[in-house]
Amino acid sequence: MTRNKIEVVFQPYGKREQILPGNTIMEASKIIGIGLNTLCGGKGTCGKCKVKVQKGAEGLNPCTEMELKHLSEEEVNENTRLACQTILMRSSIIFVPLRSRVGIQRLQTEGLEVPVKPNPLVKKYYVRMPPPTLHDPRSDEDRLLDSLNDQYSLSDLTINFNVAKSYPIILRKAKWDVTAVVWKNEIIAVEPNDTVKRCFGFAMDIGSTKLAGFLMNLTTGEVVSVGARMNPQIPLGEDIMSRISYAMMNGWDGQKELQTAVINGVNEIIEECCEKADVKPEEIYELNFVGNTAMQLLFLGLWSRYVALSPYTPVLRRGVDVNAAKLGLRAHLNANAHYVPVIGGFVGADNVAVILASKMLESDEIIMAIDIGTNTEIDLGNKDLIMADSCASGPAFEGMEIKFGMRAASGSIEKISINPETLDVYYQTIENTPPVGICGSGLVDAAAELFKSSLIDIKGTFSPEMTKKSKRLRRGQEGWEFVVAWKGETKIKTDIVLTQGDIRELQKAKAAIHAGAEILMKRMDITENDISKLVIAGAFGNYIDPENARTIGMYPDIPLEKIDFVGNLAGTGARMSLISREMREYTEKISRTVKYLELAIDKNFQDEYLKSFYFPHADLNKYPITVELLRRIGRVL
């Protein structure tokens, strides 16, 4: 039996499509190619995918329990629904309000440039040979290998079997004038004539949220072009744990789906980068990947279940080499795809890359590196010893679990300041458009400014007596809230507020990071004064106000001049270990020597975590610089 298709129209885009009934609005939006916010991956928990059903509402399933939690009575009456919870059975018109649309994402791809002398694993050799004669009937193999040995003193080379299939023809067509492409000791391609100048590689940071790729000239070590995309796995699960759950529930099919999604995303970036630089994907001879340990499994198509369950064991620790074509990657047929080694279940190749690029393991001085993301990795030490841990800082900085939270996209409030005397609020949005929501850096600013101006106390609780001084502080539906932008100023025609619950989410995130740092310091007997440099990595890190982040106690009380914001340091490490054989080998050393510390079994963790909830910390003696700063502005603690 075939079911009649229904017509679904998405407004204001005016996009329409005939689809089968029984899809959710979210599924329909994917079919049609409309970006809807889905922070929770369609579980109905985030409430960020509100849409209005303008036509066809009578044929819908009744509101689910999850929906009733997120929708006001008024919204229910006007047929506002959560797209992920609503099933379309007949032709409908759906209106997507601004807040539910995926905006233009601010994708930060740059990171530090760390000078590394290029010594890639792939090298090209231009070689000319005498043609075979009856007096010299050596095999094509010997002819090529002998010539390479004569001209470049390369011995011990082998020929990849795929090359063996095609090179007899190429050698003759090119009149014995070719370029051999060598990876390690293996000839992976024979190309007609001199192509030495065109030798490319591709480095990529596979974040759970964002993919950032770099097309590299392997001979010069230069970045040729860059590209970024949101990780296409997001619709299958917002965070990495949800994705593994998805794989667990759907078995190998689910794994395959997750792998295909990320590979497709990588390929799109490869194609974009190649097009920008007029390079053919076939000219990419090696690819180098970093990402967390769970991502390593999803990317390589390995069983991901056990890394998500205590005691969180990785499947592979060492670096992995696998044929790129086997993974379905757009590159030369015989290109090698390398995944950088990992350290532990929650400290992955991305963190190895951070340690590599921060040069911690060569440093005499003590360095702390914090790579902020949904999962935050922290490294501490110097050439003698580095320890690393990882904490679940959560998605608050991505805007999730925050009432008006959103990713750093057009219209998000990214900077906030409050005049401590008048309590006037100033804010700045990305692209200077009227505000739609608040992104991570705005959230950090808001909390710090509220604290500095006594609107919240040291425990992060709104001070009700301040209502006398500001009408922005008021009782909302969910307790106390603070109006950041009045509805007349906003694009969404409602007040944008920061709720007590939002502050609590931020406290959880910052407390996790600080506790992670504190426990490493305690364990290694290192104090704030011993740390010569604090490196803050991660895309979000680059936009936060360093002083405000410190004021709320997100990281230890360290002078600002010692704090470096380095952006995507994992991407830098990925590039370094692509273009340099020595750096590649060095990643193995990092993986072997860095000591992983499991926070959850540290007996001090709960105590440190709870102390870190305070602004800036329960123990003010740990924050002398911040206390002095607060004293200066007249903030009494």
Binding site: K43, G44, T45, T64, E65, M66, G237, D239, M241, S242, I244, S245, M248, M249, R305, A308, L309, S310, A392, K459, G460, T461, E478, G479, W480, T499, Q500, G501, R504, Q507, K508, A600, I601, Q606, Y609, L610, K611, F613, Y614, A618
Partner: protein, 232 residues
């Protein structure tokens, strides 16, 4: 005397609300000296305070650190008072088996639930974290517990809750033992899906729902007893 008694109980409650461990202990001793019944001091002093803490938490005025400070104060008072109640008279409202499910080790939330349940008068059998399915069930059977309370922060370990649920059903224990689930990745939807009896959004709600579960089991037991009597 009556004024003084009322004053002490009120201050006991306040010590819990303020998370003042030292004061709670002192006041508990005071209460005994003044001849207040330990049981009275617990229910009308300490537990009253915990109730206020719960309300403040609901309104998000109190947060995790406050909860744990109050819990510590409650514990300090409780330790003094409970010793003075003869063993034979110590009767819990019910027995609860509590733990973080297999595969997960995040237990801060569970620890708070434990305190809140104890404060509310339940005997809590805490199995800790990464608790095997069979361990939950064995403990509940051995101890004759009314409720198994399970928690997890992580999404992948949600399945472990289903395992416990399935095992209970297989062993035909669903009438005797009710379940409640909670934690970061848990939702009401998940509760429905695996057929658990309750979902606690937070520690305060968990206590409330545990009470309902225990009461329903107790009522069912009463009914069964009566029926048995009648048939005899």
């Amino acid at each position: 005397m009556k004024v003084k008694k009322g004053q002490i109980l009120k201050e006991l409650a306040e010590a819990v609300v303020n998370g003042d461990e030292v004061k709670a202990e002192l006041l508990a001793k005071n209460a005994l000296e003044e001849g207040i019944q330990p049981y009275d001091a617990i229910t009308n002093g300490l537990a009253e305070g915990m109730k206020v803490v719960g309300e403040k938490y609901e309104r998000k005025e109190y947060f995790l650190p406050d909860m744990l400070l109050s819990a510590d104060a409650m514990d300090a008072g409780l330790n003094i008072l409970i010793k003075k109640i003869p063993k034979s008279e110590r009767k819990a409202k019910g027995k609860i088996v509590l733990g973080v499910v297999e595969g997960d080790i995040h237990d801060i939330g569970k620890n708070i639930v434990k305190v809140m349940l104890t404060a509310a008068g339940y005997e809590v059998l805490d199995l800790g974290r990464d608790v095997a399915t069979s361990k939950f069930i064995k403990k509940a059977k051995d101890e004759g517990a009314q409720v198994i309370a399970m928690s997890t922060l992580m999404t992948p370990t949600l399945m472990s809750m289903k395992d416990v649920e399935d095992q209970l059903r297989e062993e035909g224990l669903k009438d005797k033992v009710k379940t409640i689930i909670g934690g970061g990745s848990v939702s009401e939807e998940w509760q429905m899906r695996i057929g658990s009896d309750a979902y606690g959004k937070n520690a305060v709600e968990a206590v409330d729902k545990v009470k309902r579960l225990v009461d329903s089991i107790m009522a069912a037991v009463e009914v069964m007893k009566k029926e048995k009597k009648n048939s005899e």
